[in-house]
Subunit: 572 residues, 2 copies
């Protein structure tokens, strides 16, 4: 083993113990880890005035066994009735299940869990076997006013799975996780909502072998949470994948949906387009479980042609040049890249340091005028037909050069692709030493991009010792998404919460959307009336009353629908 020159923290390398708090806190595969590089540690020490000693003692790791001191208050007769629907083995009321299926992945709840703070949980956890089970449970819960909160992959970052009023947590990923049909003629796949991204993509990629198909396909949707996200979750929370610039956002990938609601079950029709009034297929997207439960979805799929993929990366002299070139690319009408990202100067510089750019390259760049804290990295891919990816990559190269960029080959892009789903694995390591990393995103038109970027960045940087890295990803001819990543040293939940809510408010004040692809959940709910305007929120509330007159579907602030007046926040 190579001898290490520098101190390295004793990162946790073992799977959390079964039944422990940490096993709920930990992201992703229990046996998978990704640790901050030495560069990261050095940076954090510098930015947060930390010493080696600060990286010696882990705090609030959550290694203790989970204990929930909350009795089940749902009446036994209801539990018995639900057991009769789904079978004994598909109903759980143990402490661990109740907490696990009430937890998402917000920084705030991970901080709290580690400290033993457990928020609302459901009385029982139910694993329906099929859509028939779901229909029976919804009917029963509706008749008896039992709250129902839906859980699939659990990577919500806005308390979307928190059972605020107790009742039932309905877990869709245990059984309802299969690809039901691949239609090669229409290039569509009919999928159960609880299917995880990798299982879905794997089947599509290997469709000839696994499904006897003529071709290989891809789902085209790769959020950072891909490994722990579900197809149904993509749709009901309006997610976006990293390749959305060419494939579209989750909402664009949906052909039809089947829902179970208290007001009845229905499947929207399978047409590529219709002019038969407002599209119920669209109305349901983004409903986050508040109208009903998505039990099947028919998605577009695309031909899988990785052999044609082109990788590119560039360095721009300034953020302004990077933005201008990106706009030109998105409006150029020559086709669109799949992945496409530009990093602002802070993200670029930290990235270069962290991922180890050779110093001679750095010196070369500086000599060429690409200066630290000014230069901006751009990376991406083109996907599709071979002639098309060649054309798109060539056009992008030309436009980037015209805007002063230097071509860095496809290396950075390929490197990024390899680790694109594993970044969240670092959160546990950081939290072990009281460092919080969080992200917020906002949609914005081109003409407001700089105002939003500068305004939110200024807010984040106004807190001493806070890093702020921003990139734009998910591009459209009309604008993009700004993704703000902030790191800070604090173990105080209240401090973190207050600051994080401040960032959200700063986004809205500077004209960004309350969310581009994370969804609303219960975190953004209080700002919905302020953001969309009362009239538009009342439209959503009218739909809510129609679908769910007894307010049993994901109640307690989800989408802000059932928040009392005094909890609807106003910005000053």
């Amino acid at each position: 083993m190579k001898k290490r020159k520098n101190f390295r923290p004793d990162w946790t390398e073992s799977a959390p113990q079964e039944g422990s708090v940490r096993s709920i806190v930990k992201y992703g595969d229990p046996r998978a880890f990704k640790h901050p590089s030495d560069g990261w540690v050095a940076m954090m020490k510098r930015e947060f005035s930390m010493s080696d000693d600060d990286f010696r003692n882990k705090t609030a790791e959550g290694n203790e066994m989970l204990v929930l001191k909350k009795p089940v208050t749902l009446k036994e007769k209801h539990i018995a009735a639900i057991r009769a629907i789904v079978g004994e083995s598909n109903v759980a009321s143990d402490d661990y299940s109740r907490v696990k299926y009430a937890s998402g992945k917000t920084t705030e709840e991970l901080m709290e869990l580690r400290k033993g703070i457990i928020r609302e949980v459901a009385d029982i956890v139910v694993h329906p076997r099929d859509k028939g089970d779901v229909a029976a449970i919804v009917a029963y819960c509706n008749a008896n006013s039992i709250p129902l909160t839906v859980f699939a992959a659990g990577s919500s970052v806005n308390f979307g799975v928190r059972p605020v009023h107790g009742g039932v947590s309905l877990v869709l990923s245990t059984h309802m996780n299969r690809l039901l049909e691949l239609n090669e003629t229409n290039q569509t796949a009919r999928v159960q909502p609880g299917m995880f991204g990798p299982a879905y993509e794997e089947l599509l990629n290997h469709a000839p072998e696994s499904l006897g198909a003529r071709r290989r396909y891809t789902c085209g949707h790769f959020p950072q949470s891909f490994e722990y996200s579900s197809v149904g979750g993509w749709v009901v929370t309006l997610g976006s994948g990293q390749a959305s610039t060419c494939y579209g956002d989750a909402c664009d990938l949906v052909i039809s949906q089947e829902y179970v609601t208290p007001a009845g079950s229905f499947k929207t029709l399978d047409y590529p387009a219709t002019a038969t009034g407002p599209k119920v297929n669209d109305i349901m997207k983004g409903s986050e479980g508040t109208f009903g439960i998505l039990v099947e979805v028919t998605m577009k799929v695309f031909r899988f042609m990785p052999e044609n993929r082109r990788y590119f990366s560039f360095m721009f002299p300034t953020w302004g040049a990077a933005v201008d070139a990106s706009r030109e690319i998105m409006q150029g009408e020559f086709g669109l890249p799949a992945v496409y990202r530009i990093s602002d100067p802070e993200e670029t510089d930290r990235g270069l340091k962290l991922y180890g750019i050779p110093s001679f390259v750095d010196r070369y760049l500086v000599r060429k005028g690409y200066k630290p804290m000014e230069r901006c990295l751009c990376l991406g891919t083109a996907e599709g037909d071979a002639g098309y990816t060649k054309l798109v990559a060539a056009k992008i190269r030309k436009i980037c050069r015209d805007h002063g960029a230097i071509c860095l080959t496809g290396y950075a892009s390929k490197k990024w692709e390899k680790t694109r789903f594993t970044e969240p694995y670092m959160r546990e390591d950081l939290q072990d030493f009281g460092i919080q990393i969080d992200t917020l995103e906002a949609s914005v038109t081109w003409d407001n991009l700089h105002h939003l970027h500068q305004g939110v960045r200024a807010y984040i940087k106004s807190r001493p010792g806070t890093m702020c890295m921003t990139h734009a990803s998910h591009f459209y001819p009309q604008g993009t998404n700004l993704y703000f990543i902030f790191l800070m040293k604090t173990s105080e939940v209240d401090e973190f919460r207050t600051f994080q809510r401040g960032v959200i408010e700063s986004i809205v004040k500077h004209g960004g959307s309350l969310s581009h692809h994370h969804g609303v959940g219960r975190m953004m709910g209080p700002l919905m009336d302020e953001h969309l305007g009362r009239e538009q929120m009342e439209v959503l509330r009218a739909l809510k009353r129609h679908f769910d007159p007894n307010n049993i579907m994901n109640p307690g602030g989800q989408l802000g629908l059932d928040l009392p007046e005094e909890e609807r926040k106003k910005l000053t």
Copy 2:
């Protein structure tokens, strides 16, 4: 003047007299005409067993002055109040205005008008000057339960502008017809709803000269009714343009909308994408005036680069080959054509005869195996960046050839483009001699295309002496739109109506959508419950109750929303 060998009907060549019924019946520019070719006449004689004599005497031309025997029943105090809002000169209650602004362009209503049959009209016609006027009128009408029916360009083909319960016809095209803002950074245009297609496109095409812009733009939306369609109409009826395969349908072109409704006014937010719950921006699209009135819309615009346009046309040996090649093109991931159409054998053959293919070309085609009533014409364009259009055209050529097609150069496509908006002008000539031409369209996935085509065609052809020409236009990776054109000789409105409703039912029975881009109006309304299913119609009704609790907005069957149970049709 060249002496004509053949008899030619005395087509009407003069503008209808002001105030005449015909001036309402006539499509488009009163002084523009397009007459059936000699080939058309010969064909009609053959198909409908007509003689020259049958083309000598015009019937029911509607040249008489319009007389409406329907008193205004709206109370004078209401009329006075509305006059006080919009000004004296913007309220009309004369017979002519009341009929004109109650009329669309369905074959059925043109037949009826010619016979002096006038259906429901409004009591008064109001021309609001701006969105403030609209808000005041909606508030007043809501407070006094006065029905409001919206009219813009009047090319509805489903009784969408018929004021079934009288009240007010609100005409948005008289004053509210301007481009308010061109945002070159975002590539968007903010437009008033009553702006007609040509005025809008003209301004965009000449943006440097007319608006001081840096570039030229195009709206990307060219329905056949382009000359007499409005931007607002495109959005609220879910229209599609002839170049929709690359630019998208009208619903895809909308960034944000501003509405006045009885439940309040609002503007949706200007973001390229959001994850803030179900999108009110989508919910309003296709509402056809039943929820509220669109008073401003922000649309995507595209760079106008006609110099890069590539035209192509091909002949396929069979309809099956044309469909297969088209599917391969739409799923090929090399970009998409703008215009793209394939004609079925009957449309192809009639087209070749009507538009005068030289006989040596025909002989050549037959010799090569492209046989009459088997072969299928394909035509289209590629638009955008020069390298892109070159690539797309080359890929299409390759795929078409691989499917047995012969390249016919871009001639047919260019010829089609020149006359693409003028076909409707022939309707008056045909109706003058008792011949009806009508069209119905349906969305369909690839795997049901042949079933739908054969089934509906068989229904149409089951009526003796009925022509049926079908093409597919508006393509998607998942399917397309089938456009059925039928011609028949009849002057009996009842017979026509029964047959035409039969075609609609046949479309639904064979799995086509009730509409792809014509909308619902009052014609399709009775089938909405059957087609979408009761649960989905109840969603739309819940929205209707929210926006318009007094049912004043386009009431009387529009979208089927307020139809009593017994008028909701069931298919057997």
